[in-house]
Every structure is written in C-alpha cells, then in structure tokens.
C-alpha cells in the first residue's frame, strides 16, 4: 500500500486535470444536447455528427488560413457558425414539421441525419485521420503542483468551460428569449397561447444547441485526431451526462460532465484496461437513487 500512496498523488492530480479538461468538451457538447432535449424534446442523435463536422471544418479553416495560429482562432469563430447554419437548414427544412411526432420517430429522424452527415463528411473530407495544430500561444506545458507538466492548451480548455457555462446562464436566465424557451420547456401550449411565435423560439434553441456541438468539435480538434466515427462514442457519453444530470437541465449537464470526466480519468488510473466502466457505474448508481437525474429534469 505504501508504494501506491507514494505514486498516486502526482499521478492522481495530473489525471484529475486531464479529466477536467475533457469535462469541458463534454459539458459544452452535452449542454447543447440537453438544451434541445429540454425545450424541443428531441433526443438528438445527430448532435455527435455536428460535433464531428465542427472538428472537420476547423481542420479545413485552419488549413486554408495557412496553418498558423490565426487559423485556429478563425476556425473557433467560423466553424461553429457553419454547424449552426447546417442545423438551421435541417430545422427549417424538416424538424419543424415533426415536433408533434412521438419521441421514437424524432430519435430515428435524428439518427437518419447522423447517417447522412456521417457519409457527407466521408464524401467531403475522406476517411483519413486529420490533425489540427495547437495554436502557437498554447503550445508547450506549464508546471503544475510540484513541477508536473500540464499542457497549456488543456489549461485553456479548463478556462473555456466556465466561460461557456456563464454565457449559457446569462442567455437562459437574463434574456427574453431564454425565459420564453424555459417557459416553453415546461408548457409549450401555454407559451403558444399567449401569442409567442413558438416555432421561432424552437428554431433558435435548436440552432444554439447545435452551435455548442460545433464549438465542442473545434475545441477538441487540436487534442485528438480528427476522424470519421469520432461522433459515435461522444454521443453516447453526452447521453449519459444528460441523463445523469437530469434531462433538459444545463447545470445538470455541467454536474454530469464533471462526474463523467473525473470517474473516467480516475478509473483509467485504477484499472487501465477497463477504466471506461467507472463512468457507467456512476450513472447506474445515480439513477438508482434519483431515477430522473441529479438536478430537476424538465421532463
């Protein structure tokens, strides 16, 4: 046991921080998913595909702007907007006509979109691995707690998470649109009855949610190899996070992402091969005691 204790502290800390920066990405993507779930009641399987499109678009934008640091910042602005535009077309072109259908139909429809998006990505970008360089100012490491090297970019991610959370809080609680959306999540008919254009509210929420998926894709791009299928695992993780936090609750998504990121990174430390089991166990334990998630669900 002593040997274990002497190794763990440094290892644990570094794992905790890796877990936290992963949490940021998961939170950003899952908050978009939960927003759409809460207000529009759509379990959006295509959310992962939009995240993938965000990452691929970031690759292209970075490359087109010369591969330098500026490219990443341009991508950070443009790529999520492109994803938002795609989602706007999908929403106006198809989803808006189907809101009254059963959840199962909507789930399958979003799955159809994810199939189509997946193949379109294959068509446009091909099947090879792509990589996006870490922007110049975030290259290298910072020493952390006793000289443990921690990637600077991950530190940037750690800061990006709270910023997005605060912006989302302001958006949902302080703007008129946010208040209407939250009211529509609770009682759709009522909001419609008082003369608000529900359809436009829904479109906005859908687009914002998808924008977040794209943003997550751009932010993750420098840390992973951008490739087909990167959407598949992510969407499952995002699902887990939103059910753990409570469907439709943005703070729940934050809490869920924290639990998920930490159990995963610490799990890998405990049992390298099957560390992936721990976040799932966490979800089962949570739902055993709180069948509708940790925080108040809009469902």
């Amino acid at each position: 046991m002593e040997a274990v204790y002497s190794i763990i502290p440094a290892g644990v800390l570094s794992q905790v921080f890796v877990g936290l920066s992963r949490t940021t990405i998961l939170f950003i993507v899952a908050s978009g998913l939960t927003l759409i779930l809460g207000v529009l009641r759509i379990p959006n399987v295509a959310h992962g595909s939009l995240y993938m499109i965000g990452a691929f678009t970031a690759f292209t934008v970075t490359k087109l702007s010369g591969g330098g640091s500026a490219g990443f910042w341009i991508a950070l602005v443009i790529a999520p907007l492109i994803v938002a535009l795609i989602s706007l077309i999908a929403e106006r072109g198809m989803f808006q006509f189907l809101y009254e259908r059963e959840h199962l139909m909507l789930l399958l429809l979003t799955f159809a979109f994810s199939l189509v998006f997946g193949d379109l990505v294959k068509l446009v970008w091909g099947g090879e691995y792509k990589s996006v360089p870490v922007p110049h100012i975030f290259q290298g490491f910072v020493p952390l707690f006793g000289g443990l090297p921690f990637p600077l970019y991950n530190l940037f991610l750690l800061l990006a998470g709270p910023v997005v959370a605060i912006l989302l809080y302001l958006l949902t609680n302080k703007t008129k649109m946010g208040k209407i959306a939250r009211a529509a999540a609770v009682d759709r008919e009522m909001v419609g009855a008082v003369g608000i254009n529900v359809s436009r509210v829904f479109a906005t929420v859908f687009v914002i949610g998808c924008y977040l998926a794209g943003l997550g894709g751009v932010l993750v791009a420098p840390t992973v190899s951008v490739t087909l299928g990167m959407d598949h695992n992510l969407i499952i993780e995002a699902f887990l996070i939103v059910i753990m936090g409570g469907l439709g609750n943005i703070w729940g998504a934050l809490l869920g992402a924290l639990i998920f990121g930490l159990t995963q990174s610490l799990g890998i430390l405990i049992w390298p091969k099957f560390g992936i089991i721990f976040p799932y166990l966490a979800v089962v334990v949570v739902l055993l005691f709180r069948p509708t998630g940790l925080l108040k669900s809009t469902w």
Binding site: P43, H103, L107, I236, I243, I277, Y280
Partner: protein, 314 residues
C-alpha cells in the same frame, strides 16, 4: 386465421424450403441473413410495437447471444449443440439485468440509459482481447458438422426462425400479449385494472432478449464469425428502422422491413460506399410519408375499405 392467410403462409414456407435447390450459394446466404435479421427485428417489435417500451439498444442482446454461443463453442468442451441454447439464455439473463436497472425509469430515460449501458458492453467486448478477440472478433468458429454447409445452415436458420416467430405470435395472442398491448396503450389504466406493469414489461424484455439471442446464435451458424459491431448502437437503430419501415404495429412488418433493408444494403453496397447516406434518406422518407410502415399502410387501406360505411351507418 382465414383460409387465405394459411394458404399464403404455406406457399411462402414451401418457396423458402425450395430456395437452396435453385438459388446460387450467395443468395442462400443472403436469405439466411434476412431471416435472422427478421427474427431480430420481430423480437425487438415484441417490446417496441406491442410493448411500447423504448428498447433503443436491442442489438446488444443479439451480440450477447452470438458471443455467448461462440465462447461456448470455442472455449469449452461441452457438447456443441448446448451452445445454441446457452447463447440465447445468456441474452435473456442479460435482458433481465438491464431490465431490472432500467425498468423504473420513464420512457426516454429508459431508452437512453439502455443505449448507454449497451455501449458499455460493446466497449468491454471491444477491449477484452484475451476473451472476446477484441476488435477483430472471432473468426472460423467451429460449427457442428451437421450445420456447417451453407445449405444446412440455411435450413437450420429457416426452421429456428419459423419456430421462434410462431412462439412469438402465440405470445402476442396470449393473455400476456393482450396485457402487454394494454400497457403499451395506457400504463396507468393497466395498473388500475390490476396488472403489475413493471413485472410484465420485465418478462417482455427477457423474452425479447432471448429471441434476439437466438438470432445471434443463428448468425454464428450462418457466418461462422462474431465481431463487436454486432452490438454497436448504430445496429440497434438500424433494427428500429426495419420495424418502422415494415410496420411496427403489425406482426410480419419487421420481417418485411428486414428483408427490404438487408437486400438493399447488399445491392447498394455493391455500387457505392455510401450506404449510410442511402439508408438515411430512406429513413427520412419513411418517417415523413409512411409513419405506420409498409404493412401498416396496407392494413389501413384494407381496413378503410369496409370500416368506414359501418361508422357512417352508426
């Protein structure tokens, strides 16, 4: 059942029995695959269309059945035929476990948790090289001699599929099946007439898991391989599409949906790498224009023919 239905079914079965006589080997294989996918989709529909349960990750039971059968065949010295029972039983047991964990949850929570837990099983199978062969899967599974030729594999698949379909049909017509459909239509009402909703749903999940496992064991016989993609969640949604396309409130709809999709996939894949794109577009069209599926549409037209006058004459 009317005489026409019996005659039609009889003729269908005779044609299926004769297939290997005049079809080339590849088509025999294809029809075998269609049959076992049809069985898989029908088992899903038992809980989905008849039970109203959001079984989002059905493929995991199919995979557990296939892996259970395979591991029995490759890792133990027990009689090979036993493997074809153990595989499905493993699926049923797994259905019970997932059911116990998920059944208390409301519809969408149920489906989303199930899809997540199923993905965990996939991840374990995918990584556990020493036991499951990891992402390579297991190839060249030793099949008992009497089932190893394509023809005998076909006949085995045909017989087991028909038998399973018959049993499921009996179940749907039984009081249990009636109760299950009642629960689908209105769980609160069902409770109030004395039905223990959760226990009935749990049994339905176990049964559906069992028959999915049967389909998995059939795949082992037909293809002699297993691989982790058999329990990946995208396959689950594909099976859902089969049910939807064929008609999820009809008994034979899922089989029809499976036939259409497996056949299309085989032929489209011969021309292009973009099968997913084609499937996605087909799905969108079905959801938009045929929400009750092909058989559902036919039934609707057929019923309308002599139901409407009766209502007007009320």
């Amino acid at each position: 059942m009317s005489r026409q239905t019996i005659l039609g079914l009889g003729a269908g079965i005779i044609v299926l029995l004769l297939f290997p006589v005049f079809l080339p080997r590849f088509y025999v294989y294809l029809v075998s695959i269609i049959l076992l996918y049809g069985l898989l989709a029908t088992s899903l529909n038992l809980v989905l269309g008849y039970g109203g349960i959001f079984q989002f990750h059905h493929a995991v039971f199919y995979g557990v059945g296939a892996y259970g059968t395979t591991l029995m065949l490759t890792k133990t010295g027990l009689p090979p035929m036993l493997a074809f029972i153990v595989g499905p039983l493993a699926s049923a047991a797994f259905g019970l476990v997932i059911g116990i964990i998920c059944i208390r949850l409301s519809k969408l929570y149920f489906g989303m948790l199930q899809i997540s837990l199923g993905s965990l099983v996939w991840a374990i199978v995918y990584r556990w090289y020493s036991f499951t062969g990891g992402d390579d899967g297991i190839h060249g599974i030793p099949i008992p001699e009497m089932l190893s030729s394509p023809k005998s594999a076909y006949y085995y698949t045909l017989i087991i599929t028909l038998a399973s379909l018959f049993v499921m049909w009996k179940i749907i017509r039984s009081p249990f099946g009636s109760a299950l459909q009642g629960i689908r239509d209105n769980p609160v009402r069902s409770e109030m007439i004395g039905i223990n909703v959760r226990m009935h749903q749990l049994l339905a999940l176990v049964l559906a898991g069992f028959f999915a496992g049967v389909a998995g064991s059939l795949f082992v016989v037909v293809d002699n391989t297993v691989f982790p993609d058999m329990l990946f969640w995208t396959l689950s949604l594909e099976i859902l599409i089969m049910c939807l396309l064929g008609g999820w409130f009809t008994f034979l709809g899922p089989m029809l949906g499976a036939a259409v999709i497996v056949a299309l996939r085989t032929f489209v894949s011969a021309y292009t790498d973009y099968w997913a794109l084609v499937l996605g577009i087909i799905m969108m069209l079905v959801i938009l224009f045929l929400p009750n599926g092909i058989l559902g549409y036919v039934e609707e037209k057929f019923k309308r023919g002599f139901m409407e006058p009766e209502i007007e004459g009320q």
